[in-house]
Symmetry: D2
Subunit: 318 residues, 4 copies
């Protein structure tokens, strides 16, 4: 299928790719980046049955065969024949993208493709990570979100929507992002300084039941583990540092540490249903595709709040 | 322990008891009814360690030994040595009640006992039933609540709080109760007439993924099963009729039918945490304890919206 | 794909089909029956990638599109575009069958196709039903299997393999089948007479935690519900009668009733892995395909122990 | 309650205690060690209702109040008022022990107390750890047990009993322990040398779905993580080293790391039911209590296969 792109989100992983750090994941430069793409079907082969030309669609970046054991189990991001649109094959910082029907998610009526493009990766990554652990978010529990950026501001809302009433604490060094977190329903908002002790103060000395780390540095790894209560879970979405803990402490505190890959096709479909019902907000800022390098530089400097979306010339949403 | 009662909710089960229908459950008349009781600790034995005289408390009605296998598993409403305050031993339509420490749930600071008394039964019954099946409430799913009375109006809110973004449909013949449902966040509100076909219309012909029946008559049993989609679940809280379905249809549609007893101590504790955080609303109307017979008559006539709470003379909340 | 059939199991559903009772499931006569088929790939289209000509394969009877929400979730037997090989399209009581690649499950090395053919339906039906409820089978629990026929004798073994140490009771009126049950690991074996009271005797008066009904008549429905303990689950695989229970009893006993459809592709794949490791035994008797009508008559008379498999002339396993 | 000891298992944690490493866990020397104790009730207070003088019992070492939120949830080893018989209060290397009724587990008829004493800690630790992750052990999966000592040889059997048919690989440098593992049902047995590559060879290059580490050194932590497949889980029971992994690898491989505390009262009860049904074997060697220091020295040298049990003079099992 050929998809005419109307918008593609810009992600920190694009910076990792540019910096040459994604070779272990199968990336060979040069490549057209852009793994959060949305647009409309421009052309489709005879066998395509679930969408028609002109339909608004998201592109789920993981390629999936539909025939291997992982795909059959619904864990299609673990497909035995993995590729990733925008990292290992050409992606959405472009006018058009070619994909298989299995990568297409129809966008519910009334939604503009560019405005939901970032769900293709930021959305399913956050959704997959939160859904796996949502059973831990019960009344009386405390959950901490570290980093309220592109993925984190979606994750924060999902802690509220998929969880069952825990207290949600948002942590970010940026005042703009803390304000965003407060507006999205965080019960408490903290600067990144002295966080472990601040979390203990909020929880009668016990610590957090669940920490979701959307940043992933040596500092956040250490702080995330330090602020857990007994039986607590530290879940990693952003990455970069090294996780270190003596096993005596892991056993004595019954600590769990979870790494999270991107989500599945069904995760993306479910995120879109939530958004269409008004339960999720996606904070985006639109830039022309030509400004891609400026936007990447801004992202590197931490100057983007929410998600930047690149739109090809003349396709701005109306 | 001796608890000075400040409020006790009036439940349809009290009518069943008066009508002599609760003998199979171990009830022998005469007895002091009232199984949704709240007040303050008036006296406590030496071994009591978790509350002090003067503390505001709820009385969880199921007696639990804490030593049998069911109690050890946290399913204490299945305790091998079961009694029930207000049904098999004297309850809260009274000035004082005597209970074991195991039946006491501390009320979070700032809440008035009478205003949360109905959670003792209506709350945990709804909470237990919804929590067991909350994994079925995912984005894209549809849930129907039949009956928005004392238990149902709590259950409706819990479908929203414990679920993960399904569409919630509330059904009640009373316009007042439908208005209450709409104000509590139902996505659609239906009169009880022609409900199965109305639910199919709302779901592109598929039917509901989950139906919670807070009424329990022959009519609601038939309608509840009829409005399910394939793989759907019909869950029964209110009771009275007979459930009937050919097994060929149960197999062909992969139907599940669930009966729900009252909840556990931890269910009641979790409901109170949700309420204290402002995620739940309890609709109550206060009456003097002396008016107990009038209130029971009103309940029988369906004239109570939400829950009536009986308050002993001079203990009205301020 | 074209599959050369080496064996096809004969199922009670074939009798339902012949008797005209499967029209609600989409069956229109005449049709070639046979929904438990196995053989070898005889020809495959260019796009087929997971098997090659000559490979031994099972045919999973439900057709699945791989693109709808149910398929994406791994619940492919709920596919939006459902057909069923051997009931709604021509099946395996034949020399050859045409199927899509999505319906093919490779048979592990060393297994003869005819000897595992019945897993295609009897296997996944039993596996799906037991797997859904295997969390109920814990040490100290009691599970009852009603009916040790084609599906039941597989289900009985799966209660042992997927469960975690419950006591397993097998019930069947046939002495041959009771002997089979004992040889397959049942902890107790009962005739079908006075079963509810016998089960209570075996459980200190409590009753069973789980009853799996592989028969499905009015009698087994009544007996299955009667022998449950509080909080117990009655699960239906065989069908034919009417399930009836007052909701007061369902609530008071916290009863769950579950209907089970056929299983998914992954269920069939997992059953084959279990069999290949020697954890499952399939009791089969081989008949020539030409004897199909005699075999159906024997099945109707209850004269088959385990599963009859029809083999086309000259393809007997060596 | 007063329990007359008939046997107490000797555990590696006793060595940690002697070496002064258990102070963070609340241990202050001197103390009577022995946290795997069994015997008979010698005297009981008036309020004791679940056992009588003379009954054979195990002593579950964690003290539990039965009233806090953790106890109410059935996670009683997380009790807010924690003590541990044999580590923070006097234990079973003695003639008699004093405990609360909540710590007592009745031993099923026909079992000798000394022969099951080690379940009190080795049993519930293994059971708790395996039960939490048993849903990962499905047909087609591979599970590795590192270390087939006192806890490990129970854990190995539980991987088989609680799991659903995965391939089980046992690893130990001792030939005696490898022989024990083979006799207890391991599908493959490996020396500790070159284990990660050997596990990849056994799994077509994929690696293990679950690794249970019953040892816990820097070496086993590194090897355990290295031998995982994508989406795999590394679970820690034995402790001592430091767990280290870059978060990029944890995310890219979707790795989970789990620390496990001791189990709950219900875990111990369930282990005993399994043993009573003949599904578990406990490898023990009986020594007189007076030989405690010799036995501890043997344990330190790795010369115990299974578990040593100390028996007070004159109480040898008959």
């Amino acid at each position: 299928m050929l998809v005419k792109i109307e918008g593609a989100g810009v992600c920190a992983t694009d910076l990792h790719a540019i910096d040459g750090e994604m070779e272990p994941a199968g990336l060979t430069l040069p490549i057209v980046l852009g793994h959060e793409s949305a647009g409309r079907v421009a052309a489709a082969g005879d066998l395509v049955s679930t969408v028609a030309v002109g339909d608004p669609v998201l592109i789920s970046p993981p390629h999936t065969c539909g025939l291997c054991v992982a795909c059959r189990r619904g864990r299609d991001m673990m497909c035995a024949h993995h590729q990733f649109t925008g990292l290992t094959v050409d992606g959405g910082f472009a006018e058009y993208v070619v994909v298989s029907e299995r990568s297409i998610v129809p966008i519910p009526a009334g939604l503009d493709p560019a405005s939901v493009a970032p769900y293709s990766d930021a959305g399913i990554t956050a959704y997959h990570a939160v859904k796996r652990l949502s059973h831990l978010i019960v009344p009386g529990s405390t959950v901490v979100a570290l980093g309220i950026g592109g993925v984190g501001h979606v994750g924060l809302q999902l802690l509220r929507e998929l969880g069952a009433g825990g207290t949600i604490v948002a942590v970010d060094p940026s005042p703009q992002r803390r304000a965003l977190a407060a507006s999205l329903g965080a019960d408490a908002v903290l600067d990144a300084i002295e966080v472990p002790s601040a979390v203990r103060d909020l929880t009668d000395g016990h610590g957090a039941d669940l920490v979701m780390d959307f940043v992933g540095t040596d500092d956040t790894h250490a702080a995330g583990l330090e602020m857990l209560t007994r039986g607590g879970t530290y879940s990693i979405v952003g990455f970069g540092g090294v996780v270190t803990m003596p096993s005596a402490a892991m056993v004595g505190n019954e600590t769990t540490i979870v790494g999270n890959l991107v989500g599945s096709w069904i995760d993306l479909w479910e995120v879109l249903q939530l958004h269409a019902r008004g339960r999720l907000t996606l904070k985006t800022e639109i830039h022309p595709l030509e400004a891609v390098n400026d936007v990447l530089a801004q992202l590197r400097e931490g100057e983007i709040t929410g998600r930047a979306v690149l739109v090809p010339n003349g396709r701005e949403p109306t």
